[in-house]
Amino acid sequence: MLPRPAIDPVSFKRELTGVIPHLRAFARGLCGRPDLADDLVQETLLKAWAAQERFEPGTSMRAWTFVILRNAYLTDMRRNRFRADYDETVAERILVAPAAQEGPMHLSDMHRALLTLPPERREALLLVGAGGFSYEEAAQICGCAVGTIKSRVGRARAALTVMIESGQIPRRSTADAVAHTAIMGELDHTVLHGQQNARESGTLTRE
């Protein structure tokens, strides 16, 4: 097999710079807190830079770096870095506290609703519904089958529709508990693979 042609460093840097806003948006959607999301992007840039000879010129820099960001996020999640770190910075964007049924829905409401989804569905919906990736591209980024992505997006959309149409978006005061119980429950189930986190999970269970 011939070695891949390496991208020249100038082009690599330019392309990498170009996707930073998208990395920030993806990270923000995944982890909620802007400062932690930006930390995640910095981490992603470091890793992408170190791996630049593995980038194939002509392919999507955005997709390539999203894979790196996603892996960094999952690793950080396993290390509990984001546990209980969701706070009201997102909710601070609310200008008027909306009433459940009739008030205006703000982007922060959307974000909180998104954060209650299990991470696998959340990232699938972010990639397809917000990032504009095709199901095929999203499947490649997540390393799973196209059908799996379709299923995750469908379930995510269904859950958000129910949440939004019924006005059951978690309010600021409960976003923490709701989001984290959902997120960590799913992660404990799917990612940790036997690593014991029962203790921490226990602390997240609130009445």
Binding site: P9, K13, L16, T17, I20, P21, H22, R24, A25, F26, R28, G29, D38, V41, Q42, L45, L46, W49, R93, L95, P104, M105, H106, L107, D109, M110, H111, L114, L125, L126, G129, A130, G131, G132, R157, L160, T161, I164, E165
Partner: protein
């Protein structure tokens, strides 16, 4: 049911109408799938609102540092 979304005080519906007409479910072929939920554009706006934010200097600084061979 209608949800007026707003971004930093500006109603989401106004913002969207400035950019493009909102055609719910336009991505779906007719009759093939249920149309996109009404909030679908909000999700895109949530993402785009971050994409459109001014980029903190720290990112360019990091890349410049990585790019500088004298800096290990």
């Amino acid at each position: 049911m209608y949800f007026g979304l707003s971004l930093e005080g500006e109603a989401l519906s106004e913002r969207m109408s400035k950019e493009k007409p909102m055609i719910p479910g336009q991505k779906n072929r007719k009759g093939a799938k249920p149309r996109s939920p009404e909030w679908a554009d909000g999700l895109k706006l949530l993402y785009d609102s971050v994409v459109d934010e001014p980029l903190p200097d720290s990112f360019a600084q990091l890349l410049d540092k990585l790019d500088d061979p004298s800096h290990g």
